[in-house]
Symmetry: C2
Subunit: 138 residues, 2 copies
């Protein structure tokens, strides 16, 4: 629940610059830490956790909790695809663990349907469909 940051720091800028290069990709906080470590750029992990959390609050990152034990996934949402991401669901295969992006108008209708008929406002960012992917079905 960090409010929007007030200072512009080198770390925050570096982090944001990196995230902008991987739109639509899922990364964990650990992934990001490792990226900077390999690159030689050192940003403390607490800073990464804290900054990413405020980026979520600012709507620049989406945060997905796939399952309780694996780390949370973050995804950069560029300003122009922001609206699109609002109607993007995720599917998690319970066999192989694969995470699939689902992008479909029909799913938008579902949201509307549930809202109107069942008075429930679904949050796609939080919601994950669990099931089995085609490869694992065979």
């Amino acid at each position: 629940m960090n409010s929007r940051s007030r200072y512009k720091t080198k770390q925050k800028e570096t982090l944001l610059q990196y995230l902008e290069t991987i739109p639509g990709t899922h990364v964990t906080a650990g992934d990001v830490c490792e990226h900077f470590k390999k690159q030689g750029t050192t940003i403390g992990q607490s800073t990464i956790y804290r900054q990413m959390e405020s980026l979520v609050d600012e709507g620049i990152l989406n945060k997905y909790i796939i399952d309780g034990n694996s780390p949370a996934c973050f995804e950069y949402v560029s300003p122009d695809t922001h609206r699109e991401a609002e109607i993007c669901f995720h599917c998690k295969c319970e066999k192989c663990g694969k995470l699939i992006h689902l992008h479909c108008d029909e799913l938008e209708e579902i949201q509307l349907h549930i809202l109107k008929e069942h008075s429930f406002k679904v949050d796609p960012v939080r919601t994950v469909f669990y099931g089995v992917c085609d490869q694992c079905m065979a």
Copy 2:
């Protein structure tokens, strides 16, 4: 990924007996541990975690992940509501914590749609829609 248990043990029976008394209630693994500790019945926590995980595999328990840091929630599903649960989705309000059961033909179509168009077989028992209920919207 524990497969169905083969032996019938006292611990498993005790655990199941307790869970049957609280259908529709959300409990964490920790809650269950504490319950037995207070009651004098001692079941090791590893056993509780392991048994509950296999009960999930057997479809006797549902497991919900509310958010990554808080512990996972389990819910007993009685046999007679089990079949219903197969075509029943759940909505979890993120504000008040209320759990809503959705039974609707349109949702069945969605499953079919995702299966045919996106080659993903959704498991309704595992899948939870997160969002905000009507009371909390006001």
